[in-house]
């Protein structure tokens, strides 16, 4: 069950989803965002700078994580602030891709706003730190 947008309580899961990333997702994000750093699509360059493989853009992970709660919010005007720390890289395998699991939970509430904590994991490992969205109460 997901909680209603009008009266969230601390601990409520307001939205969750799993997103399957492939190399195509990374190329699509590169084009849409203008971030053409080759570590996001070339295995040889990723390896040459010591990475375990081609990585998803941190801003792609940040962007798809917050989109998980937009249908619940109803209006993105309610988003006041959104911040993350990029703590772990998301390696996207050329054949099997990567699955990101996003769970959005109410972490705190005050008179006018709620803090939604986003937990984003890949293979059971948390990839974003302090991923928090401050939203205006409906």
């Amino acid at each position: 069950m997901t909680a209603g947008a009008a009266d969230p309580a601390i601990g409520d899961v307001v939205a969750e989803r799993t997103v399957h990333l492939t190399r195509e997702s990374l190329v699509r994000y590169a084009g849409a965002s203008g971030d053409f750093n080759p570590i996001h699509y070339r295995d040889d360059i990723a390896a040459s700078v010591g990475l375990p493989g081609v990585l998803a853009h941190g801003m792609l992970t940040m962007g798809l994580a917050v989109e998980t709660i937009v249908p619940w919010l109803g209006d993105s005007r309610r988003i006041l602030e959104y911040g993350v720390r990029f703590t772990r890289p998301v390696v996207v395998d050329p054949e099997t891709g990567a699955d990101l699991r996003i769970v959005a939970k109410v972490g705190a509430i005050d008179d006018e706003s709620a803090r939604i904590d986003l937990t984003v994991t890949c293979d059971e490992t948390t990839v974003l730190g302090k991923a928090q969205v401050r939203v205006r109460l409906a």
Binding site: V19, S25, R28, Y29, G31, A32, S33, G34, D35, N37, V49, G58, M59, L60, M62, G63, L64, V66, E67, V70, P71, G74, D75, S76, R77, I79, L80, E81, Y82, G83, V84, R85, F86
Partner: protein, 150 residues
């Protein structure tokens, strides 16, 4: 010794050239971040929420922020080399969402340079305003800049 010039702190760059947000660009970006809410795709759904046109996803602001960061990278005395840069933190503070039809400019200020071992943490704020000069969003990023190979 930090690889980054500490004199960058307090430096403010000229506003970027206006960026006109297009409807198809918003849709393209929305698909790329796996957005499925109609306010990003359907002008009627956006109008029902009180917007003039489709609403950009929250992290779309990075497209304008990126133009400001290019100014920082191009600064001859910065000491920052792109291949040694790691994105450590990102934050957005919104006055309102970005909407198709907006003409946005970003003004970057460097607010902190802190040496940590052989690296430097560079904090910068891009203040993004619309054509009327109203605040839309402030994008704050923390970059970790390594020394790399000399």
């Amino acid at each position: 010794m930090s690889p980054v010039n500490p004199d960058l702190v307090g430096r403010t760059f000229p506003p970027t050239a206006p960026y006109l947000v297009g409807r198809e660009k918003v849709r393209e970006f929305a698909r790329a971040v796996f957005a499925d809410d109609p306010q990003h795709f359907d002008p009627e759904a956006a109008r029902a929420l009180g917007y003039a046109d489709v609403v950009a996803p929250p992290t779309f602001a990075m497209v304008v922020q990126d133009q400001t960061l290019q100014q920082l990278l191009a600064e001859p005395d910065s000491g920052i080399v792109l291949q040694n840069v790691l994105h450590a933190e990102q934050r957005f503070r919104y006055s309102r969402p970005i909407v198709s039809g907006d003409e946005l400019t970003g003004t970057l200020s460097v607010t902190g340079v802190r040496a940590i071992g052989g690296n430097a943490m560079v904090t910068s704020e891009a203040e993004i305003r619309d054509a009327a000069g109203e605040h839309v969003v402030t994008a704050t990023s923390v970059l970790v800049v390594g020394e790399g190979e000399r």
